[in-house]
Subunit: 201 residues, 2 copies
């Protein structure tokens, strides 16, 4: 693909992202994308043949940003495990609370309608990657004596299911930043050896 085509494709993906974040996935048509891009129908179909294809492209351009390289870099840094885990959770929290350009509802709507096999499902991929990162951070924290945990994988999965629970709750019931902090702190405090746990209650 030529450079001009690449630029055009990226332009379409940017516009589509906005449309999906404002309207979800289910009710968005190719015409909506055409209108948002102010291009011809033929111009759009040159690059994408369906809203399904468009949405998956938007989603994958998304996940590339926080790919494993970044993560490995973070894991080999000089910060403590506790700091890094807190940083990771801060990112999750920011995503949950993000108002503008938020793809959460569109993502749910897409996957309600499209059942993908586990190996092709980018959501499963994201979840499993996050669990692996947290597990590693907990293990690092155990080695350095910051954390105490008998089952790092179990704790990592518990934390990520809580994050999923917070994410859907924020879209159906609404949730405050304080409430998110409280849930994440509950898990983090469980990792801190009793003698260090000043917030024990």
């Amino acid at each position: 693909m030529g450079e001009k085509s690449e630029i055009k494709k990226k332009y379409i993906l940017d516009k589509a992202r906005t449309v999906f974040s404002e309207n979800g996935f289910k009710s968005v048509t190719m015409k909506d994308i055409v209108d948002a891009c102010e291009i011809s129908r033929g111009g759009l179909y040159l690059y994408f043949s369906s809203t399904d294809e468009l949405f998956l492209s938007v989603l994958s351009s998304e996940t590339e940003e926080d790919d494993e390289e970044t993560i490995t870099a973070a894991l080999t840094g000089t910060a403590t495990a506790g700091d890094m885990l807190a940083l990771f959770l801060k990112e999750q929290k920011k995503e949950i609370l993000r108002k503008k350009n938020n793809l959460t509802v569109a993502t749910y709507e897409y996957f309600f309608a499209n059942k993908l096999a586990p190996k092709d499902n980018p959501l499963k991929d994201q979840f499993d990657t996050a669990v692996r990162i947290i597990e590693r951070l907990i293990e690092n924290g155990i080695e350095s004596g910051e954390f105490y945990c008998e089952n790092p994988l179990g704790c990592a999965r518990n934390l990520m299911y809580v994050v999923e629970g917070l994410k859907i709750t924020s879209k159906t019931v609404g949730i405050s930043e304080e409430a998110i902090d409280k849930e994440l702190m509950y898990v983090l405090e469980g990792l801190v050896p009793d003698e260090l746990n000043i917030n024990d209650d």
Copy 2:
């Protein structure tokens, strides 16, 4: 409302429940309900004036079934706290795995589109009630020496956010019964004093 009207209304709600569980909320129209009920449009509007009203009625006829009376009865029974907590979680699991007449997706779609104030939001109500029950069960278990837990409310909330996470995961990525068991057991094992925990790993 006369008895005949009550029967008719219940008939419409039953049919609407099926339509919502098969198609979600967002794309369902009053005509879909008219068709499913095989009644006239006027016949439907006599009872309900919108799919919003219909859906909330379906949802509230739902929650009445597991109302607090049932719960209080369960809480004052002779079973151990551990047994009752396990029973409660078995019900949650059954709901997550339920294939037929499952309103989960429709419920998400309804609340994505309709932001209700916390005090009017039946989902928030359900969640808070569940948290209160689990907290009470944990407290009972602590009293009887079955459980050890420093923060029953925190643990109850953690468990319910995990349940929410499992629920949305089952609709987007898919989840096995074994995977659900693993997550719930992780929390339950955390409640059992170390000397009793044969599954410690």
